[in-house]
């Protein structure tokens, strides 16, 4: 009898499994090819994309809808789409690329995504090996990559961008910005953010733009060069130092005695005020050069 119960349970489990697989299958697309989907959302949904490799492009638009087109190139990769709640306007939408057989190594598990999202959406993107491009998003965005580059333009939320080896480019951000890399270059273009932090180990950092009054800017490098290009009318308080690199500055700063100056050779640190010193700019490097230049 016990054995029968076991059989009945086992068989029942198979039935339940079969029933579960049917609706789940509707949400999964396997194998190579292009898939297109529309999902109705709220005005500020949270959209996450978890990819293995491939390009991810996200664009903000004025519709309360997520439109995704993804292209799978490997038969061993599939995409799982999940929306919460299941019916009605979703406030969370998740796209997950995954290997259908994790016991095997897949050489090129590429899925390319092109996603249109409501401009108020917030994003969370994980794409270890592929380029991520984001345009016109008002919500927060968090992007993690391993070797892929990250490019964000016209964002107004908090940006948290990380790539071990990829370059990070941020164009016209107006929200808080944090960009981290080890070997990648960081490029900030015309930011209006009042909180910005860029850190890389061996890449270069280029900051090209003005500073917001009251803003706080930290640029830190190890062996790469840092270049700050800002208008002659910029107003900032500068704390710049490099242990072994060169430091050049084109502004006529009102100098002050920098804290910790004794730890760097003479001429390798500047602490002074430009204009009325409304923004705070901290630039540090170990062996890379620091250039503070006028546009």
């Amino acid at each position: 009898m016990l054995r029968l119960k076991r059989v009945r349970m086992r068989s029942g489990a198979k039935v339940v499994g079969a029933l579960l697989l049917i609706p789940a299958g509707l949400l999964m697309a396997q194998g190579p090819g292009q898939t297109e989907k529309n999902i109705a959302t709220t005005a500020t949904p949270r959209v996450s994309i978890s990819n293995l490799a491939g390009k991810v492009t996200v664009r903000g638009w004025d519709r309360m809808q997520v439109h995704v087109t993804y292209t799978v190139t490997s038969p061993k990769v599939a995409v799982d789409t999940e929306q919460v709640p299941i019916k009605g306007a979703a406030n969370k939408v998740h796209f997950t690329s995954y290997l259908t057989d994790r016991s095997q190594t897949v050489a090129n598990p590429v899925v390319d995504y092109i996603v249109d999202v409501p401009s108020g959406a917030s994003l969370e993107i994980h794409d270890p090996q592929g380029k991520v491009k984001i345009n016109s998003i008002k919500g927060d965005a968090s992007v993690d990559s391993l070797g892929g580059g990250i490019s964000v333009a016209d964002s107004s939320g908090h940006l948290s961008l990380r790539s071990v080896g990829g370059n990070i480019e941020i164009i016209r951000p107006s929200g808080r910005v944090e960009a981290y890399s080890i070997n990648g270059n960081l490029h900030f273009v015309n930011p209006t953010s009042n909180r910005l932090r860029g850190t890389t180990t061996s890449g270069t950092i280029v900051y090209d733009g003005d500073f917001a009054p009251g803003g706080d800017y930290i640029l830190s490098d190890y062996s790469g060069n840092i270049t700050v290009l800002c208008p002659s009318t910029a107003s900032f308080e500068l704390d710049a130092k490099t242990v072994r690199g060169k430091l050049d500055n084109q502004f006529r700063l009102v100098r002050r005695g920098p804290a910790g100056q004794s730890f760097v050779p003479p001429g390798n640190a500047i602490f002074g005020t430009q204009g009325s010193g409304q923004a705070t700019l901290e630039v540090t490097s170990f062996s890379g050069a620091i250039h503070i230049r006028q546009q």
């Binding site: 198979k14 995954y98 993690d144 391993l146 070797g147 180990t201 062996s223 910790g260 730890f263 170990f286």
Partner: protein, 231 residues
């Protein structure tokens, strides 16, 4: 009386059927089961259903649940207190690539990051005269022997993580390995350069800061690589 005896016999037949059904479905020859199923509508229906399900189940594709399914299960278990999991910095960094159990690297990372955070926010907590670490340093020049306990633990953690990484390096796909290797090489160069500088200027706090930051970054990269290793 005869009616009652037949009912009892039928009931006994159903019980016998049930007892032998499991073995029958698993391939054991039993004419009694099939014969009873032909005579008893209820048992016949049960047998038919089970055979149909069994046949259908054999045709079902063997699906591997997506990482999100595992993630949801893990979250649910954590919410119910069945398991405890600590979300690490690197789970936020590259969680999607974690397709292997990550408790060990995550714990190592959590430890390293905790140390880094303490180090960064508390500064040199307790400077003590400490003997050289038991393990050999990760780079050619030894770490300074006047590191705080926290800093020394960070150096040791990085060393342990690096050994784990070396053991798993072969499982990384070549492109990922290349990126990690480039990152680690940069950080090793930074560490070496800082150590060289500290030999000349042992009291240069700026160099010391760079050194410990490089160790903390190396811990982060190694943790990411360890999580990535199983894909």
């Amino acid at each position: 009386m005869g009616e009652e005896r037949r009912d009892q016999r039928d009931i006994w037949g159903c019980q016998e059927f049930e007892l032998k059904l499991a073995a029958y479905l698993e391939g054991e020859a039993s004419t009694g089961v099939s014969k009873h199923a032909e005579q008893c509508a209820s048992c016949g229906s049960l047998l038919g259903d089970l055979q149909m399900i069994e046949a259908a189940a054999k045709d079902l594709p063997l699906e591997s649940p997506s990482p999100r399914v595992w993630s949801n299960i893990r979250s649910t278990l954590a919410e119910e207190g069945i398991i405890r999991e600590q979300k690490s910095f690197w789970q936020r960094w590259i969680p999607s690539v974690s397709l292997i159990p990550r408790s060990a690297p995550a714990a190592a990372l959590a430890f390293a990051v905790m140390l880094a955070v303490i180090m960064l926010f508390k500064g040199d907590i307790q400077r003590i005269g400490i003997q050289k670490p038991a393990t050999t340093p990760v780079v050619a020049t030894a770490a300074p022997n006047d590191l705080s306990l926290v800093q020394l633990n960070l150096v040791r953690t990085v060393k342990a993580m690096e050994e784990n990484y070396k053991a798993r390096e072969a499982t990384l796909d070549p492109s990922a390995k290349q990126v990690y290797q480039a990152g680690l090489t940069s950080l090793d160069n930074s560490i070496q350069e800082c150590l060289d500088s500290l030999q000349k200027q042992p009291h240069n706090m700026l160099v010391r800061e760079y050194l410990m930051e490089a160790y903390a970054q190396k811990a982060e990269v190694l943790a990411s690589a360890l999580e990535y290793g199983g894909r």
